[in-house]
Symmetry: D2
Subunit: 364 residues, 4 copies
Amino acid sequence: MSKRLKICINTGGGDAPGLNAVIEAVTMAAHNRQWDVYGIKAGYNGLFNTDEIVHLTPKVVDGIAIQGGTILGSTNKGNPFQMPVCNVAGECEERDMSERVMENFRRLRFDALVSVGGDGSMDIAQKFFELGMPVVGVPKTIDNDLGGTESTFGFDTAVGIATEAIDRLHSTAKSHDRVMVVEVMGRDAGFIALNSGISGNADVILLPEIPFDIEKVCAKIMANELSGRKYSIVVVAEGAMPQGGEVVAKGEGEMGRQHVLLGGVAEYVAKKIAERTGKDTRSLVLGHLQRGGSPTTFDRLLALRFGAAAVRAIENGKFGHMVSLQSADIVTVPIAEALSVEKRVDIKGDIVMTARDMDICFGD
Amino acid sequence: MSKRLKICINTGGGDAPGLNAVIEAVTMAAHNRQWDVYGIKAGYNGLFNTDEIVHLTPKVVDGIAIQGGTILGSTNKGNPFQMPVCNVAGECEERDMSERVMENFRRLRFDALVSVGGDGSMDIAQKFFELGMPVVGVPKTIDNDLGGTESTFGFDTAVGIATEAIDRLHSTAKSHDRVMVVEVMGRDAGFIALNSGISGNADVILLPEIPFDIEKVCAKIMANELSGRKYSIVVVAEGAMPQGGEVVAKGEGEMGRQHVLLGGVAEYVAKKIAERTGKDTRSLVLGHLQRGGSPTTFDRLLALRFGAAAVRAIENGKFGHMVSLQSADIVTVPIAEALSVEKRVDIKGDIVMTARDMDICFGD
Amino acid sequence: MSKRLKICINTGGGDAPGLNAVIEAVTMAAHNRQWDVYGIKAGYNGLFNTDEIVHLTPKVVDGIAIQGGTILGSTNKGNPFQMPVCNVAGECEERDMSERVMENFRRLRFDALVSVGGDGSMDIAQKFFELGMPVVGVPKTIDNDLGGTESTFGFDTAVGIATEAIDRLHSTAKSHDRVMVVEVMGRDAGFIALNSGISGNADVILLPEIPFDIEKVCAKIMANELSGRKYSIVVVAEGAMPQGGEVVAKGEGEMGRQHVLLGGVAEYVAKKIAERTGKDTRSLVLGHLQRGGSPTTFDRLLALRFGAAAVRAIENGKFGHMVSLQSADIVTVPIAEALSVEKRVDIKGDIVMTARDMDICFGD
Amino acid sequence: MSKRLKICINTGGGDAPGLNAVIEAVTMAAHNRQWDVYGIKAGYNGLFNTDEIVHLTPKVVDGIAIQGGTILGSTNKGNPFQMPVCNVAGECEERDMSERVMENFRRLRFDALVSVGGDGSMDIAQKFFELGMPVVGVPKTIDNDLGGTESTFGFDTAVGIATEAIDRLHSTAKSHDRVMVVEVMGRDAGFIALNSGISGNADVILLPEIPFDIEKVCAKIMANELSGRKYSIVVVAEGAMPQGGEVVAKGEGEMGRQHVLLGGVAEYVAKKIAERTGKDTRSLVLGHLQRGGSPTTFDRLLALRFGAAAVRAIENGKFGHMVSLQSADIVTVPIAEALSVEKRVDIKGDIVMTARDMDICFGD
């Protein structure tokens, strides 16, 4: 007879549409096995301060898959291996508090942790696994830059929102003979820019993986002009960089850490285009719109499958593994192996080839 | 037996979802009377350069009501009464070119012009009417700030897009305990901010009509914090102003006229909130997203009704009038009368009262 | 010093997007006056069985405006003036149970009831008002057929859903040279069919207000064919009727009351078109899709305004009145007066004229 | 130096969102190689009647990827190997007209055909390939039941529309304590029902792959009732069947082939549930809504990638192959091989396991 387990789940890093679907599926799949499930609030905080732990039941999670965000509350609460600890004088230092997390985990008699997060969270999960915690990972990254899985939830939603925005900009750009520069997420990997740019019929797509020459961007815009298309849409990933390493300042200035200035690369590109082509050029930063709101069906389903698979992975003792989408199936891969790969846009791959065939300019 | 008329239509000012619906309805209603209809491209340009005139037939306009933008091309092409005219040395001056427009209008034997536009376009239409041109106006303003009509097309779409964006921001703001400041359109009138802010369950709404005290805004955010709601949504109209007239710089800087810097009031407000409350605060400017894309059903229907009503107004000789929505009916009002009213948010009206009852802070 | 009131709210009849927004605004506006608010569940049931009453607080209603349905539970629970009462033998009769409602209302010391509903609910509200209950009405009808107000919440959402469905059908109808007949709500009034049909670029619109001649419908379809448009979209209100009173059976047959057969008029019309024109013809019934889901921004705002206005009406002692939209303002009108008007499509009005100008056929 | 090819493209079978994206990408990729591209209208009709061939240029296909349907017109025009040919007396017989297609193909000096379609179209493509025509296939099936590829365009859109409909039904079902039965596409394969049912939080999902026992369906509904959830959502694929082979009549009756009766399995299931549980039960058939309208971003991108890959396949002489999605890459597989596999829901697979963990009943 199988044991009734007691498991817990936390969510870390930036929020992504689908987090609640993972929580719902983990809860339901555990409940179906007559296990107990607890939600650790605010990343690992709930394992420091054990009043931040909630019992998850079918009633609590009923229908939450459709909601954005995470019912486990704020996600970006730091790394237990490097916790900032401050004394009364306000002097802070980072300290390794992982032992306290391990103790509470044992004291509360948890049999396993499902850790949902991006590469930062998976790295922490791997460390706890090495300390002896039975962890199963669920990969989460809007940018799609995590190795070991073909896709993660949140990405399809972000691409969809970006594409819808680009669709909207066509009519206004066309009515005013304008160049519109729209900045989408993607600090290190340009998947969102690439996919939304192609789907949204952009003229130019700028990616972190392909440093751009602004002259080639402007040449494309002027070629449009000559062919009678008097407007252009430029999609730029936030991490796109001009060739030759010219630094695009994104400084925080006098506001300090609390407030990251918007603008950045889109504004830089728009300014350069306006200067060189004389075209009326506007920029727009989609920012947090891409993270928010209800997940697409694709993301809901993928997140639910990930959640249920995480519970099966616990059942099968696949600790130190994370669930993964491969060839339309859900499998498990060692977290350490997934972390060893940085997924980036394949600049020789068929998606980039498709874009080039569509006459889309990458500025190279 | 009634005469077969020959009429024309132009669209002026910023684009608004619904312009194509007006064009479709004018064309169909005219065709139904066996009239001829022509589209003047690029504002009044088509009456300078008469090669920019297109014949509008049912086939040309079939199904365009659903599309954003305007098939008559770029809208913002200046005022014939103050046209910039430049000599070979590049020295420009504004000149009154209205007579040339009048001549071409007569030479082409047009019986009437339907002029679709905002207060600028209506002002020009009124002047041409005074010069003897048989003009009927169709009011268009996304901001809803035009007198003489209860509403115009484009406004419902803009409010809808803004509300959807605000809806999305809730989940990400909540997941990160953040303050999100979102800037929507409305330089002189705050209707978009007010309606989307209430519908989107905002905590703070800042309007041009109610100068704000940033301390009161911060007090509301801290009150939320104390009550356990650790995030806040602030909706700010682009024309909102702090009390005491502190100027919010929106300068264009070194880029010149071609590129209006984004940021403006949202960034200012976000910065002040971050400084005073210590909360992680982000800003976002919706910008052109609000103008683009397919009109809502409400806007499609209103624009189609306006278009058909403009043709009836021609039939009835109601020149110098514009069509108008009043009490769910379409009527006509003298353009001059409509222009004499600047429509602003009624700060004692039931919508503002509703917002106050919803505990929304206006910073006053 | 004003008294702290204790008020209650119920929702009756079919659900409409916006009910929760009314509940939210009533709760917030009452809370803002330091009043107590209670929700009566399941129509008037909560005043029979007083365990079906819930305390409404800002926390309970936070953010519910965006949700479809009603948190007060099932709405269609019969008329307290004609309650079916059954004995042990299973024999039932209708009995007037209104006195019990009055008693409970008084015993619980409620100062006012906000009753949200359609003409049936307003009729009951009026009767309770005449028995001495201080009632304020909030009109609700998806079909827009309620007198005394220019519009009600739920209607814009229903029209939007119907239009989106019609938009979708164009591409598939066109790809297959098909006639698509789509049935929308509207038993007595054709507002949804009219507005969605025009916005959705339908070829034919059939309304309860204009009995149709199927030959004229088919003539329109064949005229399309000849002009090269090989597909047609027919929008039909569920209450549309052929001329001469041929009865379209919508019988419930052997399934009894539990299950209303789908099909009805759309299927009838599709069959006749297929027979007479030989065209491949399909029918589709939108049904409950039109009621469900999140209200549009327009409906959310209108419902919130209605809710806040209902609380002001209580404050001002406007009992026996309902709130109403007139000329973009919220006013109050006597319920009895509103009930005396049956709102129907004005077949001489500008919307029908617009449709005729768009070459839309009404089958007359 | 590579030869300038002259290629053509046709689309066959039911329409699917994404057909126009394939056409756009094929045209652009061919244009990029300085090839000529022609569109064969109405399936293979354009190769019978060569006036139904259109020249495809970048201008013709600009921005069509976003549109539903196909610019190549009606798709369902029969099989050239079995063409109905009628004499003057109206007597028809099926005749093999493939040689005429081959002749026209050669006479027009086409170097290759891109054939976009489902299993029927791929079967015809294979036959023409065997007759010596250089064909490349692009798989298309909304139902996702085509072998040889992990997914096809149109499926994600159909699932999305179905899920959105199910989302909407929750609120109205809940407000009225009702059972809602919604029928989605899927005659032989239940992928749409399975994916939309899980994403849409259904209580019951009935698939062609799992014959259902109505008693188990009713038991689930009554179990909901006991647990306090007084409404249920049942999603049923059009090809779902009760155990024991009771035939669900979907007869066409007196209307002949022109009109397929709505109702079918959803109505059958609703009737049985109403009879056995006494619950108020309604049924709804989504029908053509699932095929129509703009493709999702996922489908647009997949269709564009398929189109560009088809041109590369021609370049590489991969005739008799079709393009295919495998492990996030586009590859080619022999059409004959793809046709040998009937893709069905894996009833032991992780998606069904996920559903069972979510407590969803399959009626088995």
